[in-house]
Amino acid sequence: MSIRVEEVSKRFSTYPALAGVSLEIVDGEFVALLGPSGSGKTTLLRIIAGLDFPDSGVIRFGDRDVTDDPAAKRGIGFVFQHYALFGHMSVARNIAFGLDILPRRARPARAEIEARVDELLKLVQLEGYGERYPAQLSGGQRQRVALARALARNPRFLLLDEPFGALDTKVRRELRDALRIIHDEIGLTSIFVTHDHEEAFALADRVAILNAGRIEQFAAPAEILERPASPFVTSFVA
């Protein structure tokens, strides 16, 4: 499904975090939101997720206006920079959370949920880790669990806020590759936020470059490198 962001603006107190952002992401695409710290990447992602609401502008999923829908109703998967795993639940219960809380008539049978958990553990290469607790995992493993948890309910979109930001270089690269493979396997429309242009260019189909709450350029990596749209883009990707 496609995502359309139309003229979205958002202020915190008086300073605009987003100043009229428009963006159209096509079905199955893997997009990076790239920009320096404070440029509005997280705010834009959270507005798409329904964790924040814009002052003006519209968000559409397909043809549907979802601007006022809460996060729980949007059918998204969200991965947080610091994982936000539930510390009192095992890895398996974390992953199953979205299914466990479904109302009884919509909830799959116990065995089905467990099968889904196993399938997701396998997808993120953590087979056999279901009974562990988040505190017993490394940063990279935690982020894999967070990814599996976000995918459990077959979301329409996957949104990731600096998913590798807190990890060291080697783990980062592994996880980055894993994410691309998972994306290609299930063909899920995905947006990830990063301030690292190499990461954005290595991973994304298209990159949206943000600066001070505006989009400077939204294009494929090769195009951005060949024809930077502004002096800011030129210096930022240099």
């Binding site: 996060a71 729980a72 969200f78 795993l85 510390g87 979205g98 479904l102 505190a135 309910r153």
Partner: protein, 280 residues
């Protein structure tokens, strides 16, 4: 060359300071507490038993437990709601709400009691209305409960607000993004995250609810066997020069406080691992 850190005092100074601290604690805390138990048991166990099972004492104990059993759950409900609103949501008047929660800490307990007398007493604002309907609040159990709720008001909220502020909103946001309702998020995510802090707040509120003297004294009327809580009963006995009985009931109250303290320490000790392991 010596490699002392600049903050390090010499050994002698260090032990002197530690010694002073312990001496101070012994003098101010342990000595009086010890005296309570010594005086309580001086006349023998039989005398002690008689003092705490005599009918007025029993009624005071029952009343104290009843008041705590009402005031503490109400403050838990309020404390949870207030802490949740303050830490997980943005709204105007937040600083005002925070200040109001602290009000009972800064107001003298006697004043807290007087407020209710002014409102509900025979000469108070609602006094005649209540009297017409035969409802007794002041010099009756409801007044004691109200005064206790007032003085224990901040404990749970004050315990939870820093804890929940530190934990942030991202666990809750993760739950919401996974399709959870507000209630499910609270029940499955927020509450487990704060359970030890909550229990701690409950223990503190309970200790204060059972021990409160000033506010309760103003609204109680000191009717023996009816509106005397344990602290009030102790005062009555003491004023009658019935020291043995006064210290006996006091020792019981002190035991309740010590039990609370021990529970709190056990909690902290048992869950220090869990608290340290929460890696985010």
């Amino acid at each position: 060359m010596s490699r002392r850190s600049p903050l390090q005092e010499s050994k002698a100074v260090k032990w002197l300071l530690i010694g002073v601290a312990f001496l101070y604690i012994a003098l101010i805390l342990l000595l009086p507490l010890g005296t309570v138990f010594y005086e309580a048991l001086r006349g023998g166990v039989a005398t002690w038993m008689e003092a705490v099972t005599e009918s007025n004492a029993r009624s005071a104990i029952t009343l104290t437990l009843l008041v705590a059993a009402i005031a503490v759950p109400l403050n838990v409900a309020f404390g949870l709601a207030a802490a949740w609103a303050i830490t997980k949501h943005d709204f105007r008047f937040k600083p005002l709400l925070l200040t109001l929660i602290d009000l009972p800490f800064s107001v003298s307990p006697v004043v807290s009691g007087l407020i209710y007398v002014l409102l509900f007493g025979a000469q108070g604002w609602f006094g005649s209305t209540l009297q017409d309907r035969g409802i007794e609040i002041i010099f009756a159990v409801p007044g004691i409960v109200l005064a206790t709720i007032f003085v224990t008001f901040p404990f749970v909220a004050r315990e939870l607000i820093p804890l929940m502020t530190e934990q942030g909103k991202s666990d809750e946001e993760a739950a919401l993004s996974l399709g959870a309702s507000g209630w499910q998020t609270f029940w499955h995510v927020t509450l487990p995250n704060i359970r030890w802090g909550l229990l701690y707040g409950v223990l503190l509120a309970n200790a204060r609810a059972m021990g409160e003297f000033g506010a309760v004294s103003v609204v109680s009327g000191h009717i023996r066997g009816e509106t005397n809580t344990m602290p009030l009963h102790i005062e009555v006995l003491y004023n009658e020069y019935n020291f043995a009985a006064a210290f006996a009931v006091a020792s019981l109250l002190a035991v309740l406080a010590l039990v609370t303290l021990v529970l709190k320490s056990i909690l902290e000790w048992r869950h220090r691992g869990a608290i340290a392991a929460r890696g985010h």
